[in-house]
């Protein structure tokens, strides 16, 4: 993440100053104290409001605190993994709610991350073209939704996607019949299956369950309501990531493109073979931030549907809030938050691993070696 914020060219690395050897004297006396004093406010606030809460949440997730009094008081007992067990294997509502929330958010991630990455890359490439007039206008237009708060955009979206709203009016104009977006709990793939005549799921898909949710419910895809949220997410974040890609595109050495042109590559080939690999760090950033952000959807759900219809817009972040602040089950809420934390870390690490710089494969190396070497059977 920080790799991209490099100092501008021309700054020289500071020479080690004499104070390194004697911090307590000379013209740099008091620097140690000043250093601590300067950073103290930030340290205090981060420690008290970020570090300690994490530890406190950890404690609450392992305890039976019921919402009254301090969680650190003597009446609160350690119950081990009880809350985690109730959430993941309990067999009751807690497990099913968590399973549904995971399913909803997983489909959200599956749709939003590729869509927003592709769209923002597409916009960035378009807007970065050499011969563009009004570049500033287009940049502003695409970035503006990112500036607004999720509450404002959700209110707008609730209006646009209401049963007799703008989107359905546009669909009607094309002769279709739009669904009642935010009240429709049918899964996307279930609707598609319905077009092909499969209106009830086959029996073998409704047996058994993982986290209290049957396989049919798992593969149904995001509900129509969730799809509206997916569109909203792509609408609001494509602008920010477009700018990230634009910065990266502008940093690409033009000589590479020139070399490609000389070699006779057309635009499409230039994009795939030259531009895109150069964008790997930016792509990495966008994917990481997209993953981290998508797993934390809260504001839009809180403002818009609160998990309805039919718990298809329930997300783990909102479930954690709801379990604690509405249902008074603070231990379960904290447990969900930590499981979510682990999920985010796992996804981020997995994505890092997938996009790592791998050594070029032998097959590819051979393609670039001169013919003679290959014919001599240099098959190593």
């Amino acid at each position: 993440m920080s790799a991209l914020a490099a100092p501008p060219a021309g700054a020289t690395a500071p020479k080690p100053s004499p104070s390194r050897r004697r911090p307590g004297s000379g013209i740099r006396r008091g620097e140690g104290a000043a250093g601590w004093l300067f950073t103290l406010p930030v340290i205090l606030i981060l420690a008290v409001f970020l570090l300690v809460p994490v530890l406190m949440a950890l404690w609450v997730s392992f305890s039976d605190w019921n919402g009254r009094g301090s969680p650190l008081s003597s009446g609160v007992h350690f119950v081990g993994l009880q809350n985690y067990a109730a959430t993941t294997t309990g067999g009751g509502l807690a497990e099913r709610n968590f399973g549904l929330a995971l399913r909803n958010n997983a489909w959200y991630v599956v749709f939003v991350v590729p869509l927003q990455t592709a769209l923002s890359l597409f916009l960035a490439v378009l807007v970065s073209r050499q011969v563009l007039r009004g570049r500033g206008f287009f940049r502003t237009a695409y970035y503006f939704p990112s500036v607004t708060s999720s509450v404002a955009i959700t209110v707008l979206w609730l209006f646009l996607f209401s049963a007799s709203g703008v989107v359905n009016a546009i669909i009607a104009w094309f002769g279709g019949n739009g669904p009642n977006w935010f009240s429709d709990p049918r899964g996307l793939w279930a609707v598609v299956a319905g077009w092909f005549g499969m209106t009830t799921p086959p029996a073998w898909l409704t047996q058994g369950d993982f986290l209290g949710v049957s396989p049919w419910e798992w593969i149904q895809g995001p509900s129509i309501a969730m799809s509206a949220f997916i569109l909203m997410a792509v609408f609001t974040t494509s602008g920010t990531f477009m700018l990230v890609f634009m910065a990266a595109i502008q940093n690409i050495d033009p000589a590479l493109a020139e070399a490609g042109m000389i070699d006779g590559a057309n635009g499409w080939q230039r994009f795939w073979r030259i531009t895109l690999p150069q964008l790997r760090p930016a792509l990495f950033t966008v994917l990481t931030l997209g993953l981290i952000g998508c797993w934390q959807v809260f504001d839009a759900i809180y403002t818009g549907t609160q998990g309805d219809p039919g718990k298809t817009t329930l997300t783990p972040a909102y479930l954690s809030y709801q379990a604690s602040f509405n249902d008074n089950q603070w231990g379960i809420g904290a447990a969900i938050a930590f499981i979510l934390f682990v999920i985010i870390i796992v996804f981020t690490l997995f994505q890092r691993w997938v996009l790592r710089d791998r050594p070029v494969s032998q097959r590819r190396i051979r393609a670039y070696q001169p013919k003679a070497a290959r014919q001599n059977g240099a098959t190593r």
């Binding site: 013209i27 994490v54 563009l132 708060s149 209006f159 020139e258 000389i262 809180y302 954690s320």
Partner: protein, 317 residues
Amino acid sequence: MTDQLSSGAGDDVRELALAAMSKTPPAPPQLLHTPVRRRSPWRAITGRTLLYVLLIALAAVYIYPFLIQISTSFKTEPEAALNPLSLIPQTWSVAAYEKLFQRSDFPLWFANSTFVTLCVTVGRVFFVSLAGYALARLHFRGRAFVFALIVAVMAVPTVVLLIPKFLVINQLGMYNSYTGMILPLLADAGSVFIMKNFFESVPVSVEEQARVDGAGSFRIFWSVVLPMARPALITIIILSFQGSWNELAHFIISASDPALTTLTKGVASLARGAGLGSGTQYPLKLAAAIIMTIPVAIVFFVFQRRIMNSSAGAVKE
């Protein structure tokens, strides 16, 4: 969108994004000889037209919702339901704005948001630039530890903090007070990172000069280095303003007193509150959303030109 980029890491991206907006793309490569394939001027023109058509169509998709929002806020409720698509209301009506300003707590929400955002912006900019400078330029024991703490904190997703921040704020007796709403927002790991990176790019010689002249650390920071940091400061100001104005989750958990409601919480309650007896009231809700967006939009439009230039040389190298 604050949901996705509310963790400290998001600030880095936004900074980069803002920086990108001021740059122009490099000049096209000069070809040394004619390319192997000749591209006819006809194809070039179609290509360019296609490009513009695409861009304009996409821009329309991005702008149209906001135009509809503005026009609907001036419609009457029945017309909003009947004619959702029209951009010009048949009968202009300011009933929504009237109700918003006279018969609801909207002005109070606006005042609260303004107060909190100003305090957070001023405070955060100050603390974060102090810390960034110390981490970049001052040598003190434990500097690495502090830096590691900040990096670690950036990795924690905000959702994990929802419940426990509430507990901590409550334990400290700050619940239902402006302190509880403002104080936790005064430090932001990502912003510290941005300032630190910027200060590292400032030539050391400037500070050395000042030290030789006998200035203390704070004096150097305040009078010498900070004025040079204007571009970075502007970035942080924009990010802080945007972040605190659009913040929702923190205000939910830090206060429940209606007198302390901010715009985000208030407008969210308008959107949620449609239960028994309040109807859908779209013009009202959209009007609220518009007014809520205006300050952030102004800050955005005013400052988007004056971002991150390369540091003006204060020293002749």
